[in-house]
Symmetry: C2
Amino acid sequence: MPTLKLRRVAIDTNKENVAYLHRNCAHYRSEGFQALNKVEILQEDNGKHIIAVLNVVDGDNIIQPGQLGLSEQAYEQLSLAEGTAVQVAHATPPQSLRAVHRKIAGERLSFEEYLGITHDVVENRYSKIEIAAFLVACSDNGMDRDEVLNLTEAMVKTGERLNWGESLVVDKHCIGGIPGNRTTMLMVPIIAAHGMLMPKTSSRAITSPAGTADTMAVLAEVELSPHKLLDIVRQQRGCLAWGGTAKLAPVDDILIAVERPLSMDSPGQLVASILSKKVAAGTTHLLIDIPVGPTAKMHDQASAMRLRKLFEYVGDRMGLHLVVVITDGHQPIGRGIGPVLEVRDVMQVLNNSPLAPSDLREKALQLAGRVLEFDADVRGGQGYIIARDILESGRALAKMEAIIQAQGRNEDSIKPGQLQHPVVALCDGIVGSIDNLQIARIARLAGAPMVKGAGVDLHCKVNDRVEKGQALYTIYAEFNADYNFARQAAARDNGFSVIKSHQSF
Amino acid sequence: MPTLKLRRVAIDTNKENVAYLHRNCAHYRSEGFQALNKVEILQEDNGKHIIAVLNVVDGDNIIQPGQLGLSEQAYEQLSLAEGTAVQVAHATPPQSLRAVHRKIAGERLSFEEYLGITHDVVENRYSKIEIAAFLVACSDNGMDRDEVLNLTEAMVKTGERLNWGESLVVDKHCIGGIPGNRTTMLMVPIIAAHGMLMPKTSSRAITSPAGTADTMAVLAEVELSPHKLLDIVRQQRGCLAWGGTAKLAPVDDILIAVERPLSMDSPGQLVASILSKKVAAGTTHLLIDIPVGPTAKMHDQASAMRLRKLFEYVGDRMGLHLVVVITDGHQPIGRGIGPVLEVRDVMQVLNNSPLAPSDLREKALQLAGRVLEFDADVRGGQGYIIARDILESGRALAKMEAIIQAQGRNEDSIKPGQLQHPVVALCDGIVGSIDNLQIARIARLAGAPMVKGAGVDLHCKVNDRVEKGQALYTIYAEFNADYNFARQAAARDNGFSVIKSHQSF
């Protein structure tokens, strides 16, 4: 088979590998390639290969005939030098697609079939539309709970798995959707100060205005090598790092890249996604937080309960010690929404400041208490008191400082955005509700999480009394375009409902 | 909103619109774009807009900051000059996605909901993964027959619709899968010679070694302007043109671009696809051919019958006069497979040559007979005799010559490929079966349909006696790479089963 010279094309195509072939390339003609075909690029001597989608180039300023261009991510993935001789051929459809077709037809799949699918997905043998087909076929009631278990196990198997060599490795996870809900940054120092092992890795925000990793990055380095992470956890009993560097349940990241734009959030996928990551990370004891509220991910108690049962069913069979708590998700937690503003809230709680948002403090203590009770020596019901004692004594703050120091303190002082706009109440009254989704949207439009100082700072919460013209919250931004988008969105719908009061005070 | 200067990027991305933005573009930063985001490109003064997928450019040889690049197809679709000031923004997800989510959840959709979906798809508001989600949700038993009817009507509504001003406009359609099955090129001259209106437009081959449009293109121009097509049909009562120029049920082409790589062929989608095209094309009377055989699309009589009922249910309610015939699909029809070789077969039949393949002739006469009986003046059972008379008298050949002349004769004499390889029987015996799929695969590997002279020429059919070393078929190719691929494929599996004979003759 003829070879082509590898070339890096300076185009970022995110999770989609793209290969570029010139239309005048003899190889393009003879193989009958078409743009959007899936092709396999192979270096025979060392066996390296990747799958990519084909784009056909007509000009001469991108690549020449005889060259095979790869988009940035594809080039990195193949990791061969420019000029290397490579071969390109039609990619054979993955074997496991047959199982996907069986799933589309409504059949049950075995563990081996899920393993075949996850294996081919990790090898990049699936196109995005094939992944979408798989996800839709599995969505809603597409998988029974044993299939969710099969998929979870298959996702763990197709990646690395950490072993901490201890019998009690704790973690917590919130299914998300509540702005400002930064309890993890309080729980880790409390629990690590108690001496329990909590090697916490988090993702960056994808659809929310801040994730734990984005927020911690304001204070310290979060992109740690596996070696350094191990060192810190051994020393400090905890960390607050970004999870993207480890290859834990890697299929999850690929599925999520298709799930998000489809806005698919089926319970089966959610449970498989979370539990596979945790099991692969070596977690033995896990607390799951399911917030419920009209603008939370779970709208009512009944669906939260169904999700809890599914977590329990799969978690138990994966050998996890699992506790699921259903919490109040009616409004944002804390005041700040956006990395810098959330750091402020977290540090106020750790410093036992009288300004600290009491709802964030209270929720973090409740959840930390439940995790502490995983310790056989902690009596049922005593966890909260121990957690509060660790916080009030300053031991949590000291542990946080030690973790920041160990990960590498961020010396740049990052401040809230310079552009500030108050959004005011249009009448006297009482705050009836706050829309989590709209507040998150405004914070994102303001620039969060990419712009660290951007976001929303809430000045009142549900049941607070407000006067006409009083600021409900302040929008913070760094750039004019962001600032205007966020203000416009707030002008259309500020996310607050204020119930008019007829009495005058 | 700031504007960017439009630029054409010489990259062919097929059905996927791609927009290129430079990473150092201020606009890229402020909007928080990410590669693979869906964006809307808008020219405010004239309201032109398209939806595209974003790629982020790092080098300076493709586009500069301040420019907005579009891939070839996207650039054509927007149809604005280079340098035009355009705006780019996050695309809002299409409203009708809610209906898709309801379909995923297993609910029935109304005509209005299908109309919303097809409208957004035609406007390019759906990404490929969203289309895949819709198709999977509708596949297998995802749609009941009333929903198939709703979808068909919605597909007709979202495109143009021809009106020939006559009460009898006939067409035929085969669901495909049988190599060499070129009956259309015989039926059109026979039926037009009888005086019936048969304005036949066909697609090019997508997964098969030749479509009617590819084959007719050997003889005549097939890309006709709507105006010219109309003229020819009025004069000749028939044509054999490519259907891609008209905007008939355009959503179908977009859905098919996702269905094919997914290998999805659900009955509901098939019926909606075919009938929407025909109704939009102004057809009043339609013959559907469903071949059945172990390597045909329909494997057994029962599934062919279910498909027939679905065609009838939807067709009747769309006001079509519809006849469905179930035919023998056990092996290829005729001898040649590939454009030039199939033209040879067709012309032998039209010339009443003793060499003409009798199965192709017989099937074309049977089907033409059924279509002729749509004419009130043709007595039931007499259609076949009339068709045979038209063929044997030379009137069909004369009509074909007139149609070729009207469309524009292709003066290049195109011959079968120069590279020829006989595939021989490995033992004495009787041909037991011929695998449609494998023969089609070999013909495609040899270069068909892009290379007109490439393909497979069958020398024997099922039940023929063969001797060891006798050629079963010849592979024709024009290029060495194709030639070798096709020979290798035939060496692995030649597609023929020969039943050993124990007697010697």
